[in-house]
Symmetry: C2
Amino acid sequence: LGLTVALDAMGGDHGPRVVVPAALAALEGPDEIELVLVGDAPALEAEIAARGGAPARLRIHHASQQVAMNELPSQALRGKRDSSMRLAIDLVKQGEAGACVSAGNTGALMAMARFSLKTLPGIDRPAIISALPSVDGHTHMLDLGANAESTPRHLFEFAVMGSVLAHAVDNVERPRVGLLNIGQEEIKGNERVREAARLLEASGLNYVGFIEGDGIYCADVDVVVCDGFVGNIALKASEGVAHMIGEYLAREFRRNLLTRCAGVVALPVLRALRRRIDPRQYNGATLLGLRGIVIKSHGSADEVAFHRAIRQAVAEIRKNVPGRISERLQGLLTDREAG
Amino acid sequence: LGLTVALDAMGGDHGPRVVVPAALAALEGPDEIELVLVGDAPALEAEIAARGGAPARLRIHHASQQVAMNELPSQALRGKRDSSMRLAIDLVKQGEAGACVSAGNTGALMAMARFSLKTLPGIDRPAIISALPSVDGHTHMLDLGANAESTPRHLFEFAVMGSVLAHAVDNVERPRVGLLNIGQEEIKGNERVREAARLLEASGLNYVGFIEGDGIYCADVDVVVCDGFVGNIALKASEGVAHMIGEYLAREFRRNLLTRCAGVVALPVLRALRRRIDPRQYNGATLLGLRGIVIKSHGSADEVAFHRAIRQAVAEIRKNVPGRISERLQGLLTDREAG
């Protein structure tokens, strides 16, 4: 199989205009990876030709359809069986690729991936996980929106999956797992979260207790677990604040000649900040819990960001993340029976 | 009654050391307000004396107990009937003050306020609301954590209350109300939010639909409605991001001589940013839905922040926010019966 990644070349806001150059950039990296561009062959050939022709280790897999960004997942699942998204997933299912990456419609990607790949044994609900910057490093947070509601058992599964991913990707021996709640005291929060806490305390995971919203960015934990409704809103609220601060700084530095000069002087620091909190550096969320690796890129991802998502896919192939989740889950369940 | 505000002088991380100077500062403002410091009389007298003695319009109301920051609300309710927090609330109930302000334990404050003041007719659950900065102004968001779970009917009540507050405080004629969800399409989110949307569409409020997490900071809406679990986490995640960015900027500007110079040059802009997103400027959350005005200050509030909370109390007395909520709710219910 090697390090082969299938790319949904038609997905996202920009399609081949971003996916093709990102693929070419990824092929120049140190990894001996192979890429499959899945999508409209003539369009892809034209895009590649315009950029100097196809290198070795890049091939095209034609798809006659594409999934629209606002298409209902159920419709895409029924009607888009020859779409670039679906065929990229199917290459993973058929063992022709070790992972796939799409910047398309998240709901459709999740629906197709669940249908085609199925969930891992012991996993009821897949979840979306992504790394987020923290003061001194990063944390992994899930679920970021795959599920609008979660039971305590689902939150427990998320914790197992997140722990395995953090271990595999960051080489953290026993990732610290925190459960997002509205207070650190045991009495706070709702019954669902409290019950999940009881499952985690008995789990053998390195569960460190409840964390509050600001704990996401504190680096006191490696994995933050929450339901998809809360996780998605916390993520987007965070992006909103970062954007507001960026807008505000840009506006203030443009205010007059003096502040413009200050802005020029401060530019290296502001650039460093931008790099640090740039969502592009964190692009590449994983649909975790499936029998295969599926990476979701931001729809608006540019070449740099999409390239980052490809590297995420490669890292997860190397570490066999799905296989490790299965093992870990089996281990925890066996421990519990033994104990 | 006039503009009399009762202050829980023992609450918060700093007690009289912050509340007394904040009270003295508030008395110097243009409003002809009167303040009642509720707490340990000898301690308060000493604090006032150390600051040059008591001005007119400031009096002390002795309380023999205080509520601890980590005390269980139920315990505080039963065992702290002569606490500064409880007596400050009771002054509102007895009509001796138009509002009270406390920086103490939020859970205990809510429990005591509900018990002593009761909720307004038609309101099942009070909620915590606060203003948050947005790119060009601010939004009001509720619930920020009074309730760990909310029914669609509760979300509807929050929308009515938030709308009245935005109208009263900001003089917005028909405040735009958005419902926090994980997607703008109608099919997304959970059933609770979709049902709340149906109630709001039929309500006569200026309901503008679903907004996502980043919409909190966009100024496209005046009021953001969500359940307390989501609201509290989104708020604290936002504070966490802002703090992380601040830390990062401070660290980068200290990196070397060049960046230190850049930092000095950029200082006015950074100070302007700090003022803009300073939580102290937004201190003073309202416990909305009660038969009286109760303002919650951050526990860590300093003098500036606590003063801001006092001004919030005065603004709500002037506008008779609880009375207006009752009227509005009656109006909406009558409209619905008529329609």
